[in-house]
């Protein structure tokens, strides 16, 4: 296997908003940064969102320039479709082994013209649209992807060769192999983000089997201007829903799921979606069932009050169960807290689970960077160095350290960059011996 070696001051793991901001803050200070992203494009979860609270800016408009800046910043080496395999301590720095997964496309040749995509006969569920829309087996992951290069889903490819014929620059290579990269770095920043509560997590809410029970990310895609249908339609029959209900804390503050924490973003994204829905479907009734509305950020409470004034209904109640009636309408069994706990049934057309945030990446198999009891990366000095992990030289930013929204993620990114920068400076002022160490390690890896 061919091995490329690069040497940087900082390795950022994760190309979502936190990772991009961390990388930019370091690179803009003159540091050499490698950014590793496991997906074929950077952008993370944020690029798939519709609009962002509380400004209702188009999300893509905020994310794409950052993605572009990362791609164009000379001090950043961008490694997409790449995963970190192992980390070894190297003095006070690290040697990181990563694998460039085969895209089956030559990155240097591909122009992103998408001709291959147009001729590909295989239609698959589009992961970027949360599997709601369709995508080809060979494709640019999404319209604003960075880099604008295609990637081939080999598991679903039928090897018909049409893409190869269509490609004007001979970029398609079915024989491509994984490529190992060795990254020598003084510091590591984990910006590995989050996943959301799986739809089938709660059997009370239909175990993921009820068609008209979707989650917040599904709704983001339905609302996005680049979304799969261009309209908000309910999955069972493609009708515009007249009555949409949100279930808050569907996966957070829930001991039965082992998730006792608050996911911080669900209240605000539900309110935001409700506002966007009342624009998209002016006649629809929108209800949010909640326990506490946590609109705590700058401008958030005002946003919440605006939503109330717009006629969105907020009901303090626990949704105990969702079942289906004969028309596949979700029927909610709700304990109405504000009415002394009386239990009522409400039927809606579409249910949206305000799913919570779960840890996405567990570094412990790769290196001993411990997690906290909540599963997110442990940051022992939460008040004074919230980006510091248990390992000197390894920092964490964004939702890798617990649920947080975009604004807070960007703040932690700046703070992690500051901490890493201080670490790199102190390192580089005080050591010269690292080159011999890397030689040793390289010998080791040759033997292996």
């Amino acid at each position: 296997m061919a091995t490329n070696k690069i040497k940087v001051d900082a390795l950022v793991v994760g190309g979502g908003i936190s990772g991009m901001q961390t990388a930019l803050d370091l690179a803009d200070q003159g540091y050499q940064v490698a950014l590793v992203e496991k997906e074929a494009s950077i952008g993370g979860k944020m690029i798939a969102l519709s609009k962002v609270f509380p400004t209702l800016d188009c999300c893509s408009c905020i994310t794409t320039p950052k993605m572009s800046a990362v791609a164009h910043q000379e001090n950043i080496t961008l490694l997409t479709y790449c995963e970190v395999d192992h980390i070894k301590q190297n003095g006070k720095g690290f040697i990181v082994g990563a694998t460039n997964k085969p895209r089956y496309v030559d990155m240097d040749l591909c122009t992103g013209c998408r001709q291959c995509e147009y001729v590909c006969p295989v239609d698959l569920k589009n992961p970027f649209d949360n599997n709601l829309g369709a995508i080809r087996a060979i494709r640019v992951p999404f319209s604003t992807a960075v880099p604008q290069k295609v990637v081939l889903d080999i598991d679903n490819c039928i090897l018909c060769g049409k893409c190869q014929t269509a490609c004007a620059v001979d970029a398609i290579d079915f024989t491509q192999q994984p490529e190992e990269i060795m990254i020598e770095t003084d510091s590591i920043l984990l910006a590995t983000g989050f996943e959301v509560t799986p739809k089938d997590a709660k059997k009370e809410y239909g175990n993921g089997k009820l068609l008209n029970v979707i989650d917040g990310l599904d709704m983001e895609r339905l609302l996005a201007p680049t979304g799969p249908y261009g309209h908000v339609l309910r999955p069972s029959d493609g009708k515009e829903p007249d009555s949409i209900a949100y279930v808050q804390c569907a996966g957070s503050r829930d001991e039965t799921l082992g998730v006792e924490y608050c996911s911080r973003v669900c209240c605000m994204y539900a309110i935001k979606q409700a506002m966007l829905l009342s624009g998209a479907l002016p006649l629809a009734d929108i209800t949010i069932y909640y326990m506490d509305i946590r609109a705590f950020g700058k401008g958030y409470e005002q946003f919440y009050q605006n939503a109330k004034a717009m006629g969105i209904q907020f009901i303090k109640g626990k949704v105990a169960k969702i079942k289906e009636d004969e028309n596949q309408n979700p029927v909610f069994r709700v304990e109405m807290v504000d009415e002394g706990g009386s239990v009522v049934e409400h039927t809606h057309d579409l249910a949206v689970l305000s799913v919570g945030m779960l840890p996405s990446f567990d570094p412990t198999p790769i290196f001993n960077v411990p997690n906290d009891t909540d599963g997110f990366i442990m940051t022992p000095d939460q008040n004074f160095s919230a980006s510091l992990t248990m390992i000197p030289g390894i920092f964490a930013a964004g939702a890798a350290t617990g649920p947080m929204d975009i604004v807070d993620s960007i703040m932690t990114a700046g703070s992690a960059a500051s901490a890493a920068s201080a670490y790199i400076k102190s390192q580089q002022n005080g050591k010269e011996e690292s080159s011999s160490k890397i030689a040793d390690l390289q010998k080791e890896s040759q033997h292996a």
Binding site: F296, S415, S421
Partner: protein, 682 residues
């Protein structure tokens, strides 16, 4: 169209690329972008006209770059979102393709067209075309410009010695940038020093704070001035000249027998450290162990009676002195913090009943009370405490009275919920017999490990009572014969809206955050507060710690309510920004400054007279065609580009580069001509 033909002839080498962005539907749902493309394509000098789903994407930018490289496009006009969002992005793309980045003009057709004319697609399309045509008119007259490069002082000023200011200073200094830190009060530490333990770590607040303060004091690159305030600022990013007024402390650091000196002072004033629960003297320390450890004289309240001097003449100087310190810095961090909301007289009985206090006061009360004895307040044992949330926060117009400035505190203060529950756990631990009633609207324990406090509070049998904003709780004096002096009356929505009465010994108001009063400072720095009175960032996601004035950066609660973790994180993020700005020792400024055409200038000096800036423009002797004559000369670094000189010049000899009169006139013409002219020409 004779005018247009001439234009084309005069500018044969002008080759314009026109780009109209769909903005993922944000624009194209309303504006017929293809029509914009078709029409602009026919206009003079236009070489290519294109649309894209998202012009700011890498692909969109690559398309523009390719047109510049392959089709010889040498002027770029982009119609997209507001220029404030993406002007820099596209300048970058233009520059990467080898074209001067100022040969590009950005037309806002989202915020100022598709988003405000959604009722009328045709008119919106027409307007987009006219706006793009006016952009084209300007583009024909664009000239290449070079950014002004200035040496940046590797020195930052941090205003505020609370935890955010201290942390910013420390982080900046660690990037090899010098720091001057000014603190208005005589002591460092800010609001955090007034806390006992902090959530979510439950660590003693002052231990961690003091550790940071000691590191800051010991750092060789940090200079600290207490009792100091910024009095004036001039200059620009990279090179601000700041005057700091420092008031003398009146007490020498060598002063021995501090206690005897304090005892000798006859003045008693309310002790702000304990939020008025105690008094202090006019020569004082904030708290034992504070930094700096030297006592300070409270000049506002000192009567200059001289009694302290009699105890110790050598260490005290009762002559108040003020000194002006000049610093030359590249960036300024504003970390001026917050003050707790002060309830109005009568708000939940505050001021009417002595047993109504605020959360910060309660925290001090617990500290002063000591842990090994019963909880006492004003001589009475406290057995029942009522806690009321959202005091001074989440106010709703029409329900809550506006503040003195006419504004309604409609924001959430973010910290009070967890702070209150954190305190109830403390109380339960040390005073197991006290009953607590938590009267709330929503419990917002959002942070990592914060939910734990909510859970603990429930386990600790804190009784929760939920109100709704329109029917908030009220505090009354108890009827005679009742054991408790006060009663809280409210509807409880956890029990179906039952009217309940809670007799209590003490009411604690969970007050929100207000920014510290810094009107003077904001005027000096020319930065603006937002509607909530906290300082306003440029954009919460794109530029979250920057203000509208380049080089002036926000840190901590001056920007909005934050807990300690968030303040420290924000402070570090601010430091990162300062390091990005100053770390390279050079700052680039936009080249939009005055430029004099010496052929047209006749040395009238009108511009020099009207210019309000020092050393920005002056009459100098220059040699033109062998003749020595007086002409106006601009010093770009001192020119802000306001353009006063442009209108003053009798000869139209001055222009602001990039925003010339000629460009404006051509844009106005394009707007005046409107669609009709375009359709005729097409």
């Amino acid at each position: 169209m004779p005018e247009k033909k001439d234009l084309q002839k005069d500018n044969e080498d002008i080759r314009i690329g026109v780009y109209t962005c769909y903005c993922g539907g944000n624009i194209s749902d309303i504006v017929d972008c293809e029509k914009v493309r078709e029409l602009t394509e026919t206009l003079p000098n236009v070489v290519v006209s294109r649309t894209d789903m998202s012009m700011c994407s890498d692909a969109g930018q690559a398309m523009i770059e390719e047109d510049i490289r392959k089709h010889g496009v040498n002027r770029v006009v982009i119609g997209a979102c507001a220029p404030s969002l993406h002007e820099q992005t596209f300048r970058g793309a233009v520059a990467r393709a080898g074209l001067n980045p100022f040969l590009y003009y950005h037309v806002g057709i989202r915020e100022q067209d598709s988003w405000v004319h959604h009722g009328n697609h045709e008119a919106a399309t027409e307007k987009a075309i006219v706006l793009m045509n006016s952009g084209l008119a300007k583009a024909r007259l664009l000239k290449p410009l070079k950014p002004i490069k200035l040496t940046a002082q590797k020195h930052a000023l941090v205003i505020g010695g609370g935890v955010a200011g201290l942390r910013s200073a420390w982080d900046i200094a660690n990037q090899d940038i010098k720091v001057t830190l000014v603190e208005k009060s005589p002591f460092l530490g800010g609001r955090m020093a007034q806390l006992e333990t902090v959530f979510p770590t439950n660590k003693p607040a002052r231990d961690s704070l003091h550790e940071l303060i000691e590191k800051v004091i010991d750092h060789p690159s940090i200079t600290i001035h207490t009792q100091a305030e910024v009095k004036s600022m001039s200059g620009y990013i990279g090179d601000f000249n700041i005057k700091i007024e420092q008031i003398s402390r009146g007490v020498s650091s060598e002063l021995a027998d501090q206690e005897a000196v304090i005892d000798s002072c006859p003045v008693e004033v309310s002790d702000e450290f304990n939020y008025g629960l105690k008094t202090r003297k006019a020569i004082y320390q904030a708290y034992p162990g504070n930094f700096p450890s030297t006592l300070a004289i409270d000049w506002e309240n000192c009567t200059l009676c001289g009694k302290c001097e009699k105890v110790n003449s050598s260490g005290i100087d009762l002559k108040k002195k003020s000194e002006i310190i000049d610093v030359n810095v590249g960036a300024v961090v504003v970390a001026t913090g917050f003050k707790p909301y002060e309830p109005r007289q009568g708000e939940y009985g505050y001021g009417d009943f002595k047993e109504v206090i605020t959360l910060p006061q309660m925290i001090r009360l617990l500290a002063l009370n000591g842990k090994d004895k019963a909880l006492m307040f004003k001589g009475r044992t406290v057995r029942n405490i009522g806690l009321i949330h959202c005091v001074g926060s989440r106010h709703v117009p029409g329900i809550h009275e506006p503040q003195e400035d006419g504004k309604v505190n409609d924001y959430c203060s973010r910290v009070c919920c967890t702070a209150t529950l954190h305190m109830t756990n403390d109380i339960r631990q040390h005073y197991p017999d006290v009953n607590m009633y938590d009267v709330y609207e929503d419990i917002r324990t959002y942070g990592r490990n914060h939910e734990e406090y909510y859970k603990q509070a429930s386990e600790n049998l804190v009784r929760f009572v939920r109100f709704q904003a329109a029917e908030g709780p009220q505090v009354f004096a108890s009827e005679n014969g009742n054991d408790q002096p006060l009663v809280i009356k409210t509807k409880d929505y956890l029990t179906a809206g039952l009217d309940i009465e809670i007799p209590v010994d003490l009411v604690v108001l969970s007050v929100g955050f207000m920014p510290n009063p810094i009107e003077e400072l904001t005027k000096i720095l020319k930065i603006n507060p937002g509607n909530d009175r906290f300082l306003q960032e440029v954009h919460p996601k794109l530029r979250p710690v920057e203000t509208a004035v380049s080089g002036i950066i926000l840190a901590g609660t001056a920007q909005g309510p934050m807990n300690i973790q968030e303040s420290v994180t924000a402070a570090s993020a601010a430091a990162s920004k300062v390091s990005v700005l100053l770390g390279q020792g050079q700052v680039e400024l936009e080249p939009f400054v005055a430029d004099v055409d010496h052929d047209k200038c006749n040395g009238s000096g009108e511009c020099v007279q009207v210019c309000p800036y020092e050393d920005a423009i002056s009459l100098e002797e220059v040699t033109i065609n062998g003749k020595v004559c007086k002409r106006a000369v601009v010093i770009p670094a001192n020119c802000v580009g306001c353009g006063s000189c442009v209108s003053a010049c009798p000869n139209r000899a001055i222009d602001i580069q990039g925003w010339t009169l000629g460009q404006y006139e051509s844009m106005v013409d394009a707007i005046a001509e409107g669609m009709l002219a375009l359709e005729v020409s097409a």
